[in-house]
Amino acid sequence: MKKLITGIAIAMLILHQDFWLWDNTNLVFGFMPVGLFYHACFSIAVAILAVFAIKFAWPNELVDWATTKDEGTDVQSKMKDNQYNIR
């Protein structure tokens, strides 16, 4: 599923190049230039892609790893190791 989401994201990068609408000034709904309408729909499609990415490609393993406490090492000492000086 992660590969499919990646594939869709790449396809969207290609679909962004809407050369077929370059000179077209036709209006959608009587006021919206078709070139602008296409890209407004594109923005909505990106939001839908994000929903699918969260549902099917969320990096649960990474989140589990990050939230698992290492034995014998507390957060303060880790912060100190990284010169994290904010107290």
């Binding site: 990106v46 989140v63 790893w65 990050a66 912060m79 000086n85």
Partner: protein, 563 residues
């Protein structure tokens, strides 16, 4: 004068909110710098969206659409939605995991650890500060250009001006904006900035929609508005068929003119262009026109490219990569409360872009049919508001919305630079026990004051720069650094030397193009954006030098990839 009063009330409210949030502070440096890691999903969305959409979004997008037409949305907005989401997903969540696991707060801490080098912090810090400053300038310059036209007539004796007589001059509005942002960042720290960001982002989104609705109404409805943009006639002349006509009762109305106004000429026009509205499409045309010189008021010959060259449209996709290296976003990613905090931003960010940009781009395209082509792009939104929305209170509120967009970007950037300077330069050098908690906060505040003062002085010097073009240079610089963070997160073989090479080569490439362009719009050949070459140069240097040098230690690889 009423407009000015409304703006002042808004600024006072904002200041009050910032000072109030300061009272909620726990008084520790941790609270001042990262709000004790308490930023949740909604505050994160508002903060990310508010800071990435500055004067560039409202004032710049309208101005650029006025110059090039509706192609500006695809050029910057829809591609930003996609690339930003990819970066939030591919970079943001992974960085959050390292922040959570290893306690990183700033991007310099992360890079120092990942590349086993203190020096990389000292190399990156001035470059990051140097790139953030143009972004801050966009805000201060944009604020000045927005306030001047809408306050015209308020103080004719005090502030004489050739075009907008009596308007608040940019040097004064810029100073006011800098001081207010400084005050609430000073008092409230990151909590104050997050609250102010949320408040301001809501204000500018609502006011953007309100401005659009009122302008549509003044134009006689959306369908009527679409007939207004400048049109090519059968002789290849650019004509305005509509105009803002003053009525007997003193109000103004958009009407079809009996004699169209000739505003310019298409170079090498062919008969097939008759009736074409260049700003509703993306066909590339060259326009010659006359504009008033700002000082003398004399008419001078000018030319402008209309539409969007396909190569420019393609290579603009590198520019939104900049989100991968913006210091304030990096800090948000490293310090978010949990991974789930990102989910709302991932989904809502492209929709927020749509809500703000589509109306602004339409207003910019429609404005071509009503105002002369010589009007500075940054003044287009204000001029449309002032001439079409005949209500001082609403004009004041709409201006407050623009200022909200501007200030919501400034605060996070100021604070982030203060955080980096204090932690990555001062305390890193002298040791964390050298100063008390209060002294640490004051070091950050001192550096923020220096940056604010520097930004203000530079804004006076660069007052006539196009805010959109400045933003593109700033974004190009951060985009040039993004291959570094991708490699740091996904490529085990990337080395310290490779990282240095990438930063140095990318920065040099950026500097060469910036100097060649003089900070203005610049393309190579058929419209290729310089960012393309900067990203390629930094990537090639990163890969080539990494492969030629010793791989990182097992300890570092285990720290970052040992899952």
């Amino acid at each position: 004068m009423i407009v000015l009063v409304v703006i002042l009330i808004y600024l006072a409210l904002l200041l009050g909110l910032g000072l109030f949030s300061g009272k909620q502070s726990r008084g520790t440096s941790k609270d001042y710098f990262v709000a004790s890691h308490s930023i949740g999903p909604f505050l994160l969305l508002m903060s990310v969206f508010g800071t990435t959409m500055t004067a560039f979004a409202l004032v710049g997008s309208t101005g650029k659409a006025f110059e090039r037409g509706i192609g500006v949305y695809g050029l910057m907005a829809s591609i930003s939605g996609l690339v930003h989401v990819i970066c939030f997903f591919a970079i943001g969540i992974r960085l959050w995991s390292y922040g959570m696991k290893h306690g990183f707060v700033t991007q310099i801490q992360f890079f120092r650890s990942r590349f086993e080098s203190n020096g990389i912090g000292y190399l990156l810090f001035p470059i990051l500060v140097g790139l953030v400053i143009p972004y801050l300038l966009i805000g201060v310059i944009g604020a000045g250009k927005t306030i001047l036209p809408v306050t015209a007539g308020a103080f004719p004796d005090l502030f004489p001006h050739a075009v907008w007589n009596g308007g608040i001059p940019p040097w004064l509005s810029g100073l006011g904006i800098c001081l207010i942002v400084l005050a609430y960042v000073f008092a409230g720290g990151s909590r104050g900035a997050a609250w102010a960001n949320t408040f301001q982002t809501i204000v500018f989104m609502i006011m953007g929609v309100v401005a659009f609705t009122l302008i549509v109404k003044a134009l006689g409805g959306a369908e009527q508005a679409s007939k207004v943009p400048i049109t090519v006639n059968e002789k290849g002349l650019l004509v305005q068929n509509y105009g803002i006509v003053e009525q007997k009762d003193g109000s103004s109305k958009v009407e079809r003119l009996a004699t169209p106004l000739i505003r310019g000429k298409i170079r090498n026009a062919d008969p097939s262009l008759a009736g074409y509205q260049p700003h509703l499409g993306r066909k590339v045309l060259e326009m010659d026109y006359k504009a008033k010189a700002p000082v003398t008021g004399e008419l001078v010959d000018k030319s402008r490219e209309l539409g969007v060259p396909p190569w420019m449209f393609l290579t603009y996709l590198f520019i939104p990569l900049s989100v991968g290296m913006f210091p304030h976003l990096f800090q948000h990613w490293l310090t978010a409360r949990s991974a789930n905090t990102f989910k709302l931003t991932l989904i809502a960010h492209p929709i927020c872009i749509l809500v703000v940009w589509v109306p602004c781009v339409l207003i910019g395209a429609w404005a071509t049919g009503l105002i002369p082509p010589g009007v500075p792009p940054a003044a287009v939104l204000s001029k449309m508001m002032a001439e079409l929305v005949d209500n001082q209170v609403l004009t004041g509120l709409l201006t407050a919305g623009v200022l909200a967009a501007i200030m919501s970007s400034l605060d996070s950037q100021f604070l982030c630079l203060g955080t980096m300077f204090t932690n990555d330069i001062v305390l890193h050098k002298v040791g964390q026990d050298r100063f008390t908690d209060k002294q640490t906060i004051w070091i950050a505040r001192g550096f923020i004051m220096v940056i604010v003062a520097l930004t203000y002085v530079l804004s006076l010097w660069a007052a006539n720069k196009n805010v959109f073009d400045l933003a593109i240079w700033c974004f190009s610089g951060f985009a040039m650094l993004t291959p570094l963070v991708f490699a740091a997160l996904y490529w085990k073989r990337v080395t310290t030397a490779g990282a240095y090479a990438s930063i140095i080569v990318g920065t040099l490439a950026w500097l060469v193009f910036f100097i060649l362009a003089g900070g203005s719009e610049y393309t190579v050949g058929p419209g290729i954006m310089p960012v393309t070459f900067c990203v390629l140069a930094s990537t090639v240097a990163l890969i080539a030098v990494s492969l030629a040098t010793k791989p990182p230690s097992e300890e570092t690889l285990n720290k970052f990839f040992g899952r």
